[in-house]
Homo-oligomer: 273 residues x 2
Amino acid sequence: MGTSLTIGDFSRMTHLSVKTLRHYHQVGLLEPTDINPESGYRYYDTDQVPTAQVIRRFRDLAMPVEQVKAVLSAPNLPARNALIASHLDRLESQLDQTQSAVASLRSLLEHPDAPIRVEHRATPALSTIAIGATITQDELGSWWSEAFGELQRFMDQEGIRATGPKGGLYRNELFLHENGEAVVYVPVEEPVVPHGRVESRVIPAAELAIATHDGPHGDIDLTYGALGTYVAEHALAVEGPVRETYLVSEFDAADATGWRTEIGWPIFRTTSS
Amino acid sequence: MGTSLTIGDFSRMTHLSVKTLRHYHQVGLLEPTDINPESGYRYYDTDQVPTAQVIRRFRDLAMPVEQVKAVLSAPNLPARNALIASHLDRLESQLDQTQSAVASLRSLLEHPDAPIRVEHRATPALSTIAIGATITQDELGSWWSEAFGELQRFMDQEGIRATGPKGGLYRNELFLHENGEAVVYVPVEEPVVPHGRVESRVIPAAELAIATHDGPHGDIDLTYGALGTYVAEHALAVEGPVRETYLVSEFDAADATGWRTEIGWPIFRTTSS
DNA sequence: TTGCTCCTCACGTCACGTGAGGTGGC
DNA sequence: TTGCTCCTCACGTCACGTGAGGTGGC
């Protein structure tokens, strides 16, 4: 036991504002050791200073209050470290995203209207092994990596070989309502027995307007925009999921600038390209 | 003029959600080119795709909507670039802060209770040149640098020499209500004629409990906490601003790890140290 | 005793997301 | 014609900040 402090003294010692301390009391993140039942005055203990400082550090790192609570009440050190590490990972990937947003903003401002090459193509039906799920746009990135990882492990185990580049189907709702169906697939010779999330799936034939996106996916919306503009102005869009074909992806090249992604927008063929 | 699009099509092309587009309409950030007065349907134009993409980039970089508006409506390129540059500067300093928060969190978790050395000292009144202002905690960092910059320029012009290390006085309210009086000063031999914000000021004598904080100011709250705890447990705190004395600061050493700051907490002297 | 410290509502902020409940267009 | 797309409220979220209006303690 240390010494009792008013909220103001405690605020000065921790550089947490009085409003913040009251808020932390209300949400149960940091409770005063004592409360005068008549006046409602909160009293803190000098022993709580280190806890308050740790809380401030986590909040400076934008860790949500609920997760800070979880860290503080972790039953043991490994559990606590895991929570912290996962937050630092999130921070790092956020940082990566910020950096690529800066790069892509710079290139957008430097050469505003990069021309786009669009090809019309009739793709035949494709025999594949696939994993599908209904997800949100936020989850897409990590879900995508995991799903392709699982497909790859399945193929390694069964000794199956891909007969073409990986691909994915994304329903419009994924972008519209932030929640929609996504499918990733690898073309294979023969149907397989389902295993875990992996199943056989025939990707239907389609008429597509196709553009190629070079580089990381942080600015794939640029290609989507250009392709969508092209389709709106030169072709007849039809319902159906957008297709992505991963000619070169994170599984082929560590350097993201080398990635190549074909984007296929379903159309009703009016002219031959 | 391009081609008219429904909000859903436009959403797919820009990867901005429909809800987001409606929100941007409401706040006047991105207005549809056309609205059906009966149905209320919004129609966008393919020409607006690049603008939407730029907006998305800025929002990805956490630029407030109002500022994005300002960028888009900037009268000329230099004005626009200045707005962008200032935002990137903010981003960068935020990044620095995050990095130092990570470092300080790590050290907090590694050696939790660094012992602290506290000294009781009676400081005499000090003749100084000073700049004072009522500011918020957020502004403190930049105000501090500017104010000392101005003091330094004044001294250079007038050929005045410092007779001791720089210092500052910070009223409790600065931490309590996020808004309070701050004074920074440089000890000098003689009073001077006021000039701009610079004025002569006598820093009153005081009894202080003093601890030294080593390194950058990102974790100065640790020393505040330890010193505050010490005072609460071993001495009698009295009203009055906290004092900081900058033995080594950003004006003396580029490497922040070498900085030394004395923190003086006003006390009523009960024992001799 | 003054005035500073502390209290509790209630509401505001920011940038959307989440339904509910309903209409319009191909 | 079905069902998908679009609409407008109204409210929720997150982590506090901002007053208003009032009381308590040295």
